[in-house]
């Protein structure tokens, strides 16, 4: 009975969604064949190729060729730190969101909740887990496995701690999460003394992306406020800045940063190449953030500002406590979208010759044992996969956030 019911159900679904009429059936056959062919090609590529070149160069892909030996602990410690902080953050958020129904809070220390925690984590982060599993299976590295397990355990314990924090501490947890990458960078750069020029691979682009977002966001808010200002000088300067950086391609700006900036500074003040790239990313993205924030400011009813004025609040308090929090909330998805853009833009460090994953990918194929075998398809695929997985995960999170905030549905 149930089996029959399911069959008719499935049959009806197939008829409704795949073979409604003749035209539909043709489309189904054509696209079915196309999808099957592409899936077959993709699978035979991933499973059929000899990934030895990527296996031997995995460490280079992740942190660059210059970091080795005990220095490898620097990025590992950074990852652990960030994992723990994110765990605390998620726990604290979970607790504050279910403040009125404590039973719904997922506590990692209660085995009854493990299944649900695992289920939700995998549902949200499966692309990242897939990448990690791929890397671990490929390299077969026990150290890698232990490092990964330790990071997961830290996130787990962090979440347990986050759930136990007092209710009002979400913003402190958020601050700690934001500080964790900064501390990680400081540990790698100064704790282990790894020179900026030695950063490479995934570590370099992750650093450039994160630093770019963190630095350009405040600058962007400042520019957006400037553009909306009634003071002609502030407005003029902001508009000139924003339109210049939005009108010129990032490639050109990076080339300027690489070849021209040095002419504008005294020799002793010229930063190293990766830092110059980060500065350019910051200046560039700030112009785009400014436009996003301006959108948020314009979406706010004027009554908010007028009411605050009527209460006698001084201007800077109106901006920082009334206007900005609401305006930023309205554009969170656009902010995430802009961050994804910046993440993708970090690949442009290829053009100025930095040890970014794409450049490393072509460097691997020049190693003596792999030279001239056309292996660049493999290494480029892996580099692209890293970029894709991070931005795909971020874009899924942004869509989730959009649904949760109900933006566009009011």
């Amino acid at each position: 009975m149930t089996a029959g019911g399911v069959t008719t159900h499935a049959g009806a679904w197939i008829r409704q969604n795949l073979f409604r009429n003749a035209r539909d059936s043709i489309l189904t056959v054509v696209f079915g064949a196309l999808l099957a062919f592409l899936t077959y090609r993709a699978l035979s590529f991933v499973l059929g190729e000899d990934w030895e070149i990527q296996r031997q160069n995995m460490r280079n892909s992740l942190v660059g060729p210059e970091i080795s030996g005990t220095d490898l602990w620097a990025p590992v410690i950074g990852i652990w730190l960030i994992a723990a902080a994110v765990g605390v953050m998620i726990g604290a958020l979970d607790r504050s969101q279910h403040a009125d129904q404590p039973g719904a809070i997922l506590d990692p220390l209660r085995p009854a909740h493990w299944r649900q925690i695992a289920y939700r984590t995998v549902a949200r982060l499966w692309p990242v887990f897939a990448l990690v599993v791929f890397i671990l299976l490929l390299t077969g590295s026990t150290t890698g496995l232990l490092v990964t397990l330790a990071a997961m355990a830290l996130a787990f314990l962090g979440r347990a701690a986050g759930v136990r924090l007092p209710l009002g501490s979400v913003r402190w947890a958020a601050l700690a999460t934001a500080l964790a990458p900064i501390v990680a960078v400081l540990i790698i750069r100064f704790g282990f003394g790894i020179d900026w020029n030695d950063w490479g691979g995934f570590l370099l682009v992750a650093f450039a992306g994160a630093a770019g977002i963190a630095l350009s966001f405040p600058l962007g808010i400042f520019l957006a406020l400037g553009r909306r200002s009634k003071l002609p000088v502030m407005k003029g300067l902001s508009v000139a800045y924003i339109e210049f950086f939005r009108g010129v391609p990032l490639v050109v700006l990076l080339l300027i940063g690489s070849l021209v900036i040095g002419l504008f500074l005294p020799r002793s003040l010229i930063p190293s190449e990766p830092i110059r790239a980060v500065i350019i990313f910051t200046l560039f993205t700030a112009a785009y953030f400014a436009e996003v924030v301006r959108g948020g400011l314009q979406s706010l009813p004027e009554g908010q500002e007028e009411a605050a004025k009527a209460l006698g609040l001084p201007a800077w308090r109106i901006t920082s406590f009334i206007v900005l929090p609401q305006a930023l909330r309205n554009v969170i998805p656009a902010i995430v979208g802009q961050s994804i853009s910046l993440w993708k833009d970090t690949s442009l460090m290829f053009i100025i010759g930095l040890a970014e994953p794409l450049r490393l990918a072509s460097a691997f194929t020049r190693q003596p044992e792999f030279r001239g075998q056309g292996l660049i398809t493999l290494t480029l695929f892996f580099a692209g996969l890293i970029y894709w997985i991070v931005s795909f995960t971020m874009s899924r999170e942004s869509q989730r956030l959009e649904r949760k905030l109900g933006v566009g549905q009011r």
Binding site: N17, P232, L263, I351, F381, W388
Partner: protein, 397 residues
């Protein structure tokens, strides 16, 4: 009396007077920015002096000979650097126009497919969008160029060219496609074509008008197309066949002859830009269609319009209005992203500039000029968009 009782309104002290503070604050901002710029400028002059390179205002380098040729162009090494830059500018604009046309076609189709009731079609479009939207365009371009064309075996060696007879032939030197070229001056026939488009468009308007007035189907698009084709064919015959088809073919020795040859660099750049930007255009199309109120589609259905008619006459025109600002943004992005050509050695505006700088042109002036040219392109795009937006906006909203 009341006036006497009210205390005279004293002006607040200067440091608390908003009017004064505004002026002072803005003056201070100007001074700070001015000082920063002056400092940078003086550094620039010091550095330029100590390095012995031309002064930052000296653009005479543009008149010097390039000293090298550009692949696929008839620029001679004796021509000036300005001429080289012009070749680059034309190529940037050309790849932008071709790219925008192809992106629009692919992106709109994908956007519509994304909303298809056929599950497989919708899934295919969704996978496409998720795949390309989240991959950096540089990765797409380099993967196509190095990973597929140069090393991946997609393009065979010289002497082993593959072909789709009369349409396409390819080897590692390039992809040749079927192309129409003019036997002599193209202008007479182009004028005929422009006239045919104008008359055909007039017929469409007229048949539409009749259809609206009489309520009977008059097939406006079809009749317009027939008139256009008739004029185009008659004109072609009258001018004695001014065009000739150049079909690519693989000769006995396995080499490609005929057709229009696209170098692997150009093809990779174009395909990469189109594949990447189309994923964004698809999302814009989908969102714009979804932004059209449901009632519009239902009302059109109630009037008895077919699915195609509803899409063409009711949904898409309204969706277009929503789509234009983000679309123009994507077109501008595509244009700016054409500068990614530097990574694969396709010579356009950015590559010309960086080559000039590598060959001794002063970096500051060269890149200033390049940034200025891109700003001009951005400005032109913004003006065109505003014009179209103004024409399409619903009056009174």
């Amino acid at each position: 009396m009341t006036a006497a009782q009210a205390p005279a309104r004293a002006r607040p002290p200067l440091w608390r007077d908003v009017r004064v503070l505004r002026v002072v604050g803005q003056a201070a901002a100007l001074v700070v920015v001015g000082m920063l710029l002056a400092w940078l400028w003086s550094n620039l002059q010091n550095n330029v002096d100590s390095l012995g390179i031309p002064a930052p205002t000296d653009f005479s380098y543009l008149n010097q000979p390039v000293g090298q040729s550009i692949a696929g162009s008839d620029l001679r090494p004796t021509q000036s650097r300005l001429d080289a830059l012009q070749v680059g500018l034309v190529r940037t604009i050309q790849i932008a126009i071709v790219g925008i046309i192809l992106t629009t076609i692919l992106g709109v189709l994908l956007g519509i497919a994304r909303l298809s009731q056929n599950w497989l079609v919708a899934t295919f479009a969704r996978i496409y969008v998720e795949l390309f939207r989240n991959t950096p365009p540089l990765v797409v371009i380099i993967f196509i160029y190095l990973g597929m064309f140069i090393n991946g075996g997609f393009l065979p060696r010289v002497g082993d060219a593959v072909e789709i007879p009369n349409l396409l032939a390819a080897d590692i030197r390039g992809i040749s496609v079927l192309w129409v070229s003019f036997t002599d001056s193209p202008w007479p026939y182009l004028l005929v074509l422009v006239g045919a488009i104008a008359v055909g468009w007039g017929v469409v308007r007229w048949r539409n008008h009749v259809q609206d007035a009489q309520g009977k189907p008059t097939y406006p698009m079809l009749s317009g197309l027939v008139v256009f084709l008739a004029m185009a064919i008659v004109g072609w015959l009258a001018l004695g066949g001014p065009t000739e088809l150049s079909a690519p073919s693989v000769a006995e020795n396995g080499r490609v002859t005929g057709g229009n040859k696209l170098t692997p660099e150009y093809a990779a750049l174009l395909i990469g830009l189109v594949l990447y930007t189309a994923s964004h255009v698809a999302e814009i199309t989908r969102a714009s269609i979804q932004a059209v109120a449901r009632g519009q589609d239902e009302a059109a259905k109630a009037l008895g319009l077919s699915a195609g008619q509803r899409l063409r006459k009711v949904i898409l025109p309204q969706a277009l209005r929503v789509a234009i600002p983000p679309l123009s943004n994507q077109y501008l992005n595509l244009t700016k992203n054409s500068s990614l050509a530097v990574a694969i050695a396709y010579v356009e505006m950015t590559r010309v500039t960086s080559d000039l700088v590598a060959n001794g042109a002063p970096a500051f002036q060269a890149f200033l000029l390049l940034a200025f040219l891109y700003l001009l392109i951005s400005l032109a795009t913004a003006l065109i968009t505003n014009f179209i937006n103004g024409r399409l906006a619903i009056p009174g909203r």
